[in-house]
């Protein structure tokens, strides 16, 4: 295509420059909305109304004060979300690893059908069963209870699928047999030997399960009606209401407070998260 190596090199340079510009613009597009959010959390409503600024101001405390005077309770929301997401994550990774181990290690009659079944139910959206789920929980008097948001995490088909692929690639049956020779029971083998071997996969899936539970709005919104039970995303939805209508400074403050923990987690774990996204897509 290129006649001389020289024009090829020039072309390459031009392409590269364009690509870097596009990537930097996209990166700015990712940062800017959050930057404005954090900056505006420190500006007074009057300042925000008067125009855009990329530099923080000095109204951090007054915004916080206005925010907390009303129904927004970030500490409560944080705690509730933490309890739900933490418990759900533990259940998801433990029982998914256990099921995947059962699927990979043992030769049982329904092994193949079970795997097919997992593939089938992997993509069922929770919205599809929400009405029946709500009615069921209502009869059990489990609305305004965290259990219906935690216990379903035991069955996480996509995580079982991921763990199975991981075990197929890494587990050697000799380890299991050696443990048996040493007289270790099957449960003990799993808990003491296999689970520690699965730590990389468990960590990846734990991050995603935690974030997914933390960000979930639909189910908590349906089930939790008492204010003291609200999770973080429901707390956030309060910022939309009439009570903060004109208090832009404190709305931004509320948004910033809910996003801050996620930013901290993300920048601490971004390497693993990106690697996990890549792994999850390949599904090999």
């Amino acid at each position: 295509m290129d006649n001389s190596p020289k024009s090829g090199a020039v072309n390459l340079k031009i392409s590269r420059t364009i690509i870097y510009i596009v990537c930097i613009l996209l990166a700015l597009l990712s940062i800017l909305p959050f930057w404005i959010m954090f900056v505006n959390a420190t500006r007074s409503t009057a300042e925000i109304q008067s125009g855009l600024s990329l530099l923080p101001s000095s109204h951090f405390m007054s915004n916080l004060q206005v925010l907390l005077e009303k129904s927004f309770d970030p500490i409560r929301g944080f705690l509730n979300s933490f309890i739900i997401s933490g418990s759900a994550t533990i259940l998801t990774v433990y029982f998914s690893s256990l099921a995947a181990y059962g699927l990979v290690t043992y030769d049982w009659k329904l092994r193949k059908p079970f795997f097919t079944f997992i593939l089938c139910v992997m993509l069922i959206p929770s919205q599809a069963s929400a009405i029946g789920f709500y009615q069921f929980m209502y009869k059990l008097h489990w609305t305004n209870n965290f259990l219906p948001l935690i216990l379903p995490a035991i069955a996480a088909p996509a995580v079982v699928f991921f763990m199975r692929q991981y075990l197929l690639a890494t587990l050697s049956i000799e380890i299991v047999e050696a443990a048996r020779v040493d007289g270790s029971g099957e449960f003990k083998t799993f808990n003491r030997i296999i689970l520690p071997l699965m730590i990389p996969a468990v960590a990846t899936q734990a991050i995603f399960a935690f974030v997914a539970n933390w960000n979930n709005l639909f189910m908590p919104l349906i089930l939790l009606t008492q204010k003291e039970k609200y999770t973080m995303p429901i707390m956030v939805s309060l910022l939309r209401g009439d009570i903060y209508k004109t208090e832009f400074g404190s709305i931004y403050m509320g948004l910033a407070l809910t996003a801050l923990p996620l930013f901290v987690v993300y920048f601490l774990l971004s390497r693993y998260i990106i690697a996990g996204v890549a792994l999850g897509g390949v599904k090999e």
Partner: protein
């Protein structure tokens, strides 16, 4: 696995039992229950015994043929998904082509990936309200920016116009997900046999040719998987449109999930209608999952067949005197 007279196969059942129980109780039963409610007249705050309608499909028929809001919500969901997915997959493919091109040798890919993926990790509820505030009228950050750049004299009321409101919802969805799609596609390219690229380079293929003739066909399965998961995600879209404009203006951003939520939990307690709508959504998702399932099973079966063939071949060649043939 039988060894020393101990039969371990029962542990296969024991270890998968918690999963199965939780699935039966918290997924299967609620789905069947939802389906059943769809055939009843269950309405109102106080639960009543189930009473099947004389015409069991009445709720479904009403929704599909008479309910303007429901049809609008299906249409909106499809529209919002397409407007977000097409640019999303195109940009992700472009970035993938750039980042995996050895001749271009783009630096700082790690940092770009971290930044482009970032919006995906932040709570959608927070992002929805953030964008609602950014696009505030008459004075908000975006309107300030537009005036600063001199693009428009008067502030624009983005949130009252159907087109801009839909556009912003689709944009948020696009902005939150293209980084995710890009990372998946790049991983897919990394999984392609490098020998293919090497032989293409030796044959003098240009970057374009390599991308369209080798990269894209090899990504087929991953692209289809991305497509289906994104479709199901789009089908259940809730957080962003719900908290951005509550479905407004004039129901132009109301999705099917929001319709279901609105019918059952916002004061009208029309559980039967919401359940019927859920079932319609479930059927659509089921069809989409069936496609994914078909794709994945197909691939596994193919691999198995290949392995079998190889085994048979090597067995035969061993018998015939060790001539092996690689094709």
């Amino acid at each position: 696995m039988r060894r020393k007279g101990v039969n371990y196969s029962k542990f296969g059942y024991i270890f998968t039992l918690p999963f199965v129980l939780a699935f039966l109780i918290f997924s299967l039963y609620p789905i069947l229950y939802t389906a059943a409610i769809g055939f009843t007249d269950m309405q109102g705050l106080i639960p009543k015994p189930i009473h099947i309608l004389d015409d069991p499909f009445k709720n479904f028929k009403d929704l599909l043929f008479d309910n303007v809001s429901f049809r609008k919500s299906l249409l909106n969901t499809g529209l919002l998904w397409i407007v977000n997915f097409v640019p999303q997959i195109l940009l992700a493919l472009l970035l993938t082509a750039w980042f995996t091109n050895k001749r271009l040798n783009i630096k700082g890919q790690g940092a770009f990936k971290v930044l482009l993926y970032m919006p995906n990790i932040i709570t959608a509820s927070t992002i929805a309200i953030l964008f609602g505030t950014l696009f505030a009228y008459p004075m908000g950050p975006i309107n300030s920016l537009i005036q600063l750049l001199g693009w428009s004299d008067a502030p624009i009321n983005f949130l009252q116009d159907k087109t801009t409101a839909r556009g912003i919802v689709a944009f948020i969805q696009f902005w939150m997900w293209y980084g995710n799609t890009m990372i998946i596609l790049i991983a897919g390219v990394m999984g392609i046999n490098p020998a293919l690229f090497e032989s293409a380079a030796i044959d003098g293929a240009s970057g374009f040719q390599t991308f369209f003739r080798i990269t894209l066909p090899s990504l087929r399965t991953i692209l289809l998987f991305t497509l289906i998961t994104s479709m199901i995600g789009g089908l259940t879209m809730f957080d962003i449109p719900q908290l951005f404009l509550l479905g407004g203006p004039d129901e132009s951003t109301m999705t099917t999930s929001m319709f279901i939520y609105g019918q059952a939990f916002k004061g009208s307690y029309l559980y039967n209608r919401a359940a019927a709508a859920s079932m319609i959504m479930f059927v659509i998702a089921g069809i989409l999952s069936a496609v994914v399932f078909y794709l994945m099973r197909d691939r596994d079966a193919e691999r198995l067949k290949k392995a079998e063939k190889k085994l048979r071949k090597s067995a035969r060649s061993n018998k015939e005197g060790g001539m092996t043939h690689h094709g």
